[in-house]
């Protein structure tokens, strides 16, 4: 079993090697990096390339961690105990008839090996991360109602992503293989663009990338990322406009989202226009 990328996704050779190492070592792979570096997408690509199903936990700050494994439908069970389960075939005595499995539960109970994605884990509180330690380390969790351990039939390929909004706890990090995806270089970005726009003028891409990386270097509060670049290129291509300098670009609102950033950008552009008029 070897992961080698798909036609829709640009896979850096380095990342390919790393994914395969994590698979061989059966370790959860924790991906960090800016938004727009394709962390989440990678999990989907692994599942597609290896022909495996994928289970996804989208982390929220309100999540407790237990529901990622299972919850018990207590209301239904109470109802059945009081009024009978009728024709449904559910047995009130049997806990499993009332268990609703979360993504981790489903991944562990599946007959075939699956990809398990824990998305944006940094949004959770640190005790949730602690609850997940057993899941990562031993591929198992406990059903508290029965005091029973559920162990994965087939250890899933675990991919975890983090935007580093909050720091992850050390024990959590220790159980993972950690990889920081650096923002794509110009050359890599070219490859990414060509995967999305097959027929785009070479000149437009070159000019747009120059401007894009210059803007990124200006230290905006929210620097434009890959997604913004792709949308912007789409708009440029559609309108047939060609940007000139970083201070004078069409559809700036696609690249810069924060009003503070847009103001800072405009101000710089105006200052430039002013100083240059001095010379004439």
């Amino acid at each position: 079993m070897k992961f080698a990328g798909t036609d829709k996704y640009y896979l850096a050779p380095e990342l390919e090697a790393i994914v395969n190492m994590a698979i061989v070592m059966e370790k959860p792979l924790l991906l960090t990096g800016e938004p727009g570096t394709g962390k989440t997408q990678l999990a989907f690509e692994i599942s597609r390339a290896l022909g495996m199903d994928i289970e996804i936990l989208r982390a929220k700050s309100t999540i407790k961690g237990e529901e990622a494994c299972y919850v018990q439908d207590t209301v239904l069970r109470l109802n059945d105990a009081r009024f009978g389960s009728g024709e449904t075939g559910r047995d009130v005595q049997n806990f499993y008839d009332y268990a609703i499995w979360g993504p981790i539960g489903r991944a562990f109970r599946a007959d075939k090996r699956v990809v398990l994605l824990l998305d944006e884990i940094d949004k959770t509180e640190s005790d949730v991360q602690d609850n997940l330690l057993d899941v990562l380390e031993e591929n198992q969790f406990v059903i508290r109602e029965l005091n029973q351990i559920i162990t994965a039939q087939q250890a899933p390929i675990i991919v975890i992503t983090s935007n580093a909004k909050r720091e992850l706890s050390d024990p959590f990090l220790r159980r993972c293989f950690c990889h920081h995806i650096a923002f794509p270089t110009k050359q890599e970005m070219r490859e990414i663009v060509s995967l999305h726009y097959r027929e785009i003028s070479e000149k437009l891409v070159r000019v747009a990338l120059e401007i894009f990386y210059e803007l990124r270097g200006r230290g905006f509060e929210k620097p434009p990322a890959t997604g913004e670049l792709l949308n912007w290129l789409g708009a440029l291509q559609h309108s047939g406009k060609m940007p000139e300098t970083a201070d004078n670009i069409p559809f700036a609102g696609i690249l810069l989202k924060r009003s503070g950033d847009i103001q800072a950008w405009r101000q710089k552009g105006r200052k430039k226009a002013k100083t240059s008029s001095w010379h004439y």
Partner: protein, 414 residues
């Protein structure tokens, strides 16, 4: 018996290759534990590191847990496997001349005669710095400096075929160039925790600052949890309390925006603290020049004064951060009427004012953009150390902000 089994049994790992490398990582501040070491050797046995490039990727995957350690890892790797000792700073950084690597290189170059004696006087600093990087690059391209694993001499301690039979192939073709290139790029240098703050490592610092959430006593009734717990308890009331949100806490940031040396840090710090604002009742920023007298200013131009006494009237739980290089002429800090501004006439020496602030606010940290290692050597070392005697001081780096936050958290728990 395989190497891993040997290691598990606790035998002396003398025969194991790369154990030295693990210790070198520790020297570089990457704390590796037994678990990582075992993982590493297990991977080697599984053949995951067939060449030096793979070894580089795999070792990084196993040992590096945080982005701030990536650059250190690359430097350690380059030292161990290529015998090239990279300095902490990036190319183009004038700080280079303070590094050990530069000094050693210069000494050696003078001994060998590649640079004539007296070069320090004849050549400009820039020329020397350029020469240093040229030498490093030559080494990296030719691997000539390395006699450890890679190179033409083959003096590797594990003989021609590298280690064991699943060993590292160092003389074969291909698969040994990428790591060198990656190391040479220094892509992660800005993430290093010993770096001064700038755009790229702001996210990491922010993540740290968010941990500054105040901790209160457990005296708020948690209704949901109480109901649940009561049900579990068979109907007997079981009260559950949660920590009280201390939302009355203020954040005050005092910024020295006087000298040009401070300019690069003012905006970055302001931005940083504006992002953690929502964790506090409110936050305020005041400015001063070099040190604090009887007023601070509400605006960056320092035209709207606020009496220091007023600031001292704030709740003592207020979290106070002072940003400044603490470097000035001694009389500015120690004398009556010491200020260099004409309009500031304060009979009380500034140091005393600082002491007042430190006594009033127990959660107070001075952040200094000058790196900790240089505190004793900077031109303002005298005043810096005086101020250090008053405030808990950290440098304005990721590790500095981390310890500052830890310091406040520790105090809050007490």
């Amino acid at each position: 018996m395989t190497a891993v089994e040997e290691l598990r049994r606790g035998d002396a790992p003398a025969g194991l290759p790369f154990v030295d490398f693990v210790y070198m990582l520790r020297d570089f501040g990457i704390m590796t534990g037994m678990k990582e070491v075992l993982d590493f050797f297990e991977g080697l046995e599984k053949g995951l590191a067939g060449n030096l490039d793979e070894l580089f990727l795999f070792a990084r995957l196993v040992f590096v847990k945080k982005p701030e350690h990536l650059d250190r890892f690359e430097r350690a790797f380059s030292l161990f496997f290529y015998d090239i000792d990279l300095p902490r700073v990036a190319e183009g950084d004038p700080e280079l001349i303070h590094t050990k690597q530069f000094r050693e290189w210069l000494e050696k170059a003078m001994r060998d005669g590649t640079i004539p004696r007296g070069a320090m006087w004849n050549m400009s600093r820039e020329e020397l710095i350029k020469k240093f990087w040229e030498t490093v690059k030559e080494q990296m391209e030719g691997h000539h400096g390395g006699n450890r694993w890679v190179g033409t001499g083959g003096s590797s301690p594990f003989g021609h075929s590298g280690m064991a039979q699943k060993g590292i192939r160092v003389h074969g073709q291909g698969g040994n160039r990428m790591a060198m290139k990656v190391v040479g790029d220094r892509r992660y240098i800005d993430y290093d925790s010993a770096n001064t703050l700038r755009g790229d490592n702001i996210r990491q610092v922010l993540a740290t600052l968010k941990r500054m959430v105040p901790v209160g006593a457990e005296n708020d009734l948690d209704l949901d949890e109480t109901i649940r717990s009561t049900c579990n308890n068979g109907g007997d009331i079981d009260l559950v309390f949660k920590r009280q949100e201390l939302d009355r806490i203020k954040l005050v940031l005092l910024i020295d925006n006087g000298g040009t040396s401070m300019m690069p840090y003012v905006n970055v710090t302001r931005l940083l603290f504006s992002k953690v604002k929502d964790r506090f009742k409110d936050s305020e920023i005041y400015y001063f020049h070099n040190t604090i007298y009887d007023v601070v200013y509400k605006d960056a131009m320092r035209t709207k004064p606020l009496k220091l006494d007023k600031l001292l009237g704030y709740n003592e739980e207020t979290r106070v951060f002072i940003l400044g290089d603490a470097s000035m002429a001694p009389e500015e800090l120690m004398y009556s009427y010491g200020s260099i501004s004409f309009d500031l006439e304060d009979r009380v020496p500034s140091l005393e004012r600082l002491q007042n602030i430190a006594e009033k606010f127990k959660f107070c940290v001075w952040l200094n953009p000058i790196l900790k290692e240089e505190w004793d050597q900077t031109y303002g070392a005298w005043t810096l150390n005086k101020i250090r005697g008053v405030f808990h001081m950290e440098d304005l780096t990721l590790r500095g902000v981390k310890s500052a936050v830890d310091y406040m958290r520790r105090k809050a728990v007490k």
